[in-house]
């Protein structure tokens, strides 16, 4: 617990009273929400981690999707399957940093259609990665993938692009 004391989380948890009704209000008033919102390093460090996780998850997904569509065909699909594991690490970083950022402004996020659209698209993007991962892992040495797999990869590119745009616009609306 010495670590928690050192980061100030424990102090925040004790120092904040839940004043707003409901789960979102409780979340905002929680130690996590308060710390991410008000501590000098808390919010920027979560923001930076969120950009790093995004670059890993979305960056690798987009390149693998392009490969499935037929670009960079010299790269064997079997060589890309372990990159999904790295992409999921990026996704995990963003799930955690995103949860922290959400807790700082939970009430306003939950009524923001841009944010909700982004979350829906991120969920869809993760589903496409979950579909494409076994398809890439099971591709034969000839590397031929069925048209349905290519359709998912094409949809994934559109989903990720719109998700990034909506994520950026969340800062404006």
């Amino acid at each position: 617990m010495a670590f928690l004391d050192a980061v100030g989380l424990a102090e925040c948890v004790h120092g904040v009273e839940a004043t707003q009704a409901g789960f979102l209000g409780w979340l905002e008033a929680s130690g996590l929400g308060e710390c991410v919102r008000s501590s000098t390093p808390g919010y920027p460090s979560m923001i930076a981690l969120h950009a790093i996780g995004m670059a890993i998850m979305v960056g690798l997904s987009l390149v693998i999707d392009l490969r499935i569509l037929g670009f960079f065909s010299g790269i064997p699909l079997s060589g890309l399957k372990r990159f999904f594991g790295i992409a999921w690490i990026g996704f995990g970083i963003n799930f955690l940093s995103g949860s922290a950022l959400f807790s700082a402004q939970a009430i306003s996020y939950m009524v923001d259609w841009v944010f909700l659209t982004k979350m829906g698209l991120v969920l869809l993007g993760a589903i496409t990665a979950g579909i494409l991962q076994p398809a890439v892992a099971n591709a034969g040495p000839d590397g031929v993938l069925p048209g349905s797999t290519k359709a998912v990869a094409g949809a994934a590119i559109v989903i990720w692009i719109v998700a990034i745009i909506m994520g950026r616009l969340t800062a404006y609306l």
């Binding site: 920027p44 930076a48 995004m54």
Partner: protein, 163 residues
């Protein structure tokens, strides 16, 4: 420096970037999308240089280079857009200069790769181990580019602020 900033503020690029509500968020969206494709292609190229997934031929990962360079070009242009839109804020923010420093280091590292490392490794077949120089250049590339990304994202929160 003041003359440079005054000139940037007087250009039509400045008007285009800050004169319309949609132009800044559009540039930001482009900057974010291209950073994803840049980092995605770099992760595959650099991790392969380090030794990850040796089943991929080095000449094949090299085919990602145009995607990386094209993505960087988009970010250079959109980044110049931010700079012309609000030069004072960027030039006065130390995080901006740290980010530029990381870009210079990444550029030097790329030149070392291009002139010294690539000629050696393109002859290697799949599953051949890469030399130590390739591993070092690949690791430094990831370090420098994640530095660029981190300081770029921290820019509004460090120094004197700015977008």
């Amino acid at each position: 420096m003041n003359a440079l900033m005054d000139w940037m503020l007087s250009t039509p690029i400045n008007t285009l970037v800050i004169g319309y509500a949609w132009s800044w968020p559009t540039l930001e969206s482009l900057h974010f999308l291209a950073l994803c494709t840049l980092m995605g292609s770099l992760l595959i190229m650099d991790l392969r240089l380090i030794g990850f997934q040796r089943i991929i031929p080095l000449s094949a990962v090299h085919s990602l280079m145009p995607l990386a360079i094209g993505s960087f070009a988009i970010n250079l242009l959109s980044g110049l857009g931010f700079l012309f839109g609000d030069p004072n804020t960027y030039f006065q923010n130390y995080a901006f200069w740290v980010k530029m420093g990381f870009i210079v280091l990444a550029g030097i590292n790329f030149l070392v790769y291009f002139t010294r490392v690539e000629p050696q490794i393109l002859k290697l077949g799949p599953n051949d181990p890469t030399p130590g120089s390739a591993k070092l250049v690949g690791a430094l590339s990831l370090l420098f580019w994640f530095g660029v990304l981190s300081y770029g994202r921290l820019l509004p929160y460090l120094g004197t602020g700015g977008g």
